[in-house]
């Protein structure tokens, strides 16, 4: 007679919590393998969907975090199958979690801010930004910190919590940007002619946008000069080049046409005896020369 045996019911070993059967052990490995396969498929899907949106480093960090997090949860939940009670582990984990939580609240804060930065996306890699008084190009957005390459070539690491909670100025957030000059001319010069010349120069510049149109106008009758405001819009990629090029061209063109940028000056009026005035002026001149 062959005894009626169910192989899955064979008890392999006993723990204080339960008897571990062959079936339970196989179930444990089956669920674990299935979870590994499912997690791998999920990471492949996640890697594909994030590849154009987030930098590779960040993608890998997020994927690893999710992969090991999911595997940890699955592993703990199937521990009873092999006779281990996870409640003790959870209790120990809970206590450890509180201790680690207190110790690493800044890291967690940066991590959470990093996630929100990736979702809200106020800045992208390659953008020119000003964060917390630091200006430069965003070279990477990582899970804990953001790297900024300053205009003089320094690499600055800013914790994501700071990036997220302070004001961010994205200098290339819009397709176009405006710059402004104030050009002072003498009171004796023809302001209309100066405006015409400046408008002509701007019109010749390809990157000075047609629309929004540039504006050139007398803005102030200053102490020493008639101040003309020049406001020009340019594509963000060309803004700086145009700004640095056009001002000197304006100055040279105005001077070529007899319009000068004046030095600071004072007009003095003397009253009374003209001879004494002349003496006073001569004394003042002698003092200034001496």
């Amino acid at each position: 007679m062959i005894p009626d045996m169910n192989f899955f019911e064979i008890i392999l070993y006993r723990t204080t919590n339960a008897d571990v059967t062959l079936g339970a052990l196989l179930k444990f490995f089956f669920v674990l393998s299935l979870s590994v396969v499912a997690a791998r498929i999920f990471t492949i899907y996640l890697r594909r969907s994030l590849q154009d949106r987030v930098s590779k480093d960040v993608t890998e960090a997020v994927i690893k975090l999710l992969y090991y997090g999911a595997m940890g949860v699955v592993f703990i939940s199937i521990l009873p199958l092999i006779g281990l009670d996870p409640s003790g582990l959870l209790l120990a984990g809970g206590v450890a979690g509180i201790v680690i939580g207190f110790a690493s609240q800044n890291i967690v804060g940066n991590l959470v801010s990093g996630f929100f930065l990736m979702i809200e996306r106020p800045i992208k890699i390659g953008d020119q930004v000003e964060v917390n008084g630091i200006s430069g190009y965003v070279s990477d957005i990582r899970i804990i910190s953001t790297l900024v390459r300053t205009y003089d070539g320094l690499l600055v690491r800013i914790p994501n919590e700071q990036v997220f909670t302070t004001n961010i100025t994205n200098l290339v957030g819009h397709p176009v940007r405006r710059f402004e000059y104030t050009v002072g001319i003498r009171y004796s010069d023809d302001a209309d002619e100066a405006i015409r010349l400046i408008k002509y120069l701007i019109d010749k510049e390809p990157f000075a946008l047609q629309n929004p149109s540039p504006s050139v106008f007398v803005n102030e009758l200053g102490d020493n000069s008639v101040n003309i405001s020049v406001r020009v819009w340019a594509p963000v990629s060309e803004w700086f080049d145009l700004k640095t090029r056009i001002l000197w061209t304006i100055k040279k063109t105005l001077e070529e046409n007899g319009i000068e940028v004046p030095f600071p000056q004072r007009v003095l009026h003397f009253t009374g005896d003209s001879e004494r005035v002349n003496e006073n002026v001569e004394e003042l001149l002698a003092e200034s020369e001496g």
């Binding site: 397709p175 176009v176 990157f207 946008l209 047609q210 629309n211 594509p235």
Partner: protein, 244 residues
């Protein structure tokens, strides 16, 4: 100037001088226009130079694939109507190098004889930068200098139920198809969807034998700078959503 040129080549027209001559084992490409001078070295024999008009979006610097043509006078078109007008567009001259088989082209140089200007179509916060050109609206194709300007045959279709006022049209360079032979030509359409929006696209011509329109009879299709790029899925149409 436009067409295929076997090496060595020396062409001069309207102040532009283009030459390619052998210097030892290599070919030297030289181009002069005003103060501008370009010189490049090319290795290998059995090459041919192709000069043809290209999309007007490469000079002075390629910063946008969009061209905005502003009309000198606003056009009005009634509901459901379809009309054809002719506009001008700026021409850029593209110089390509290719093997004798005229395959595997590479751009050598691009120049323009006309003034360049850019503009913004849409809002400062989310508009698009476009190359800018102002054109008169013609009812028949005008005679133009083919090194400077081309003729754009534009078919306007007002599929909305109200009058449409049109003062500009914006195109994407990815769909541009230029033709040349004496003059430079393009054919495009503008489908007006409502008062504020339209969709624009370029139309390819049927092969030489099947062409009916006199404007495009015996025209050669030009190689475009955007055309020779291996592009993925890019929209060939432009949706004008910020007003007409």
């Amino acid at each position: 100037m436009y067409g295929y040129h076997d090496l060595p080549v020396d062409v001069e027209e309207e102040g532009i001088s283009i030459s390619m001559e052998k210097l030892g084992e290599q070919w030297v490409y030289r181009r002069k226009f005003g103060d501008e001078e370009v010189e490049k070295l090319i290795l290998g024999d059995d090459k041919c130079l192709i000069i043809n008009p290209v999309e007007p979006l490469n000079t002075p610097k390629e910063i946008t694939p969009n061209l905005l043509i502003e009309f000198e006078k606003t056009l009005l078109i009634g509901a459901g109507e379809k009309k054809q007008v002719f506009l001008t567009f700026p021409v850029e001259i593209g110089i390509f190098i290719s093997g004798k088989t005229k395959k595997n082209l590479e751009i050598l140089d691009v120049l323009s004889l006309v003034g360049q200007k850019f503009t913004l179509y849409g809002e400062v916060s989310n508009g698009v930068v476009c190359k800018y050109w102002k054109s008169r609206v013609y009812t028949a194709p005008p005679d133009l200098n083919p090194l400077q300007e081309g003729v754009l045959e534009l078919t306007l279709r007002n599929s909305s139920s109200e009058w449409a006022k049109i003062s500009k049209v914006v195109f994407s360079a990815y769909g541009m198809k230029l033709y040349y032979d004496g003059g430079v030509f393009m054919k495009a359409r503008m489908d007006i969807l409502n008062r504020n929006s339209a969709e624009t696209s370029f139309e390819a011509l049927p092969s030489n034998g099947d062409r009916q329109g006199s404007l495009f009879k015996s025209r050669k299709e030009a190689f475009g700078v955007y055309g020779i790029r291996k592009l993925g899925l890019v929209p060939l149409k432009f949706y004008m959503g910020w007003g007409l």
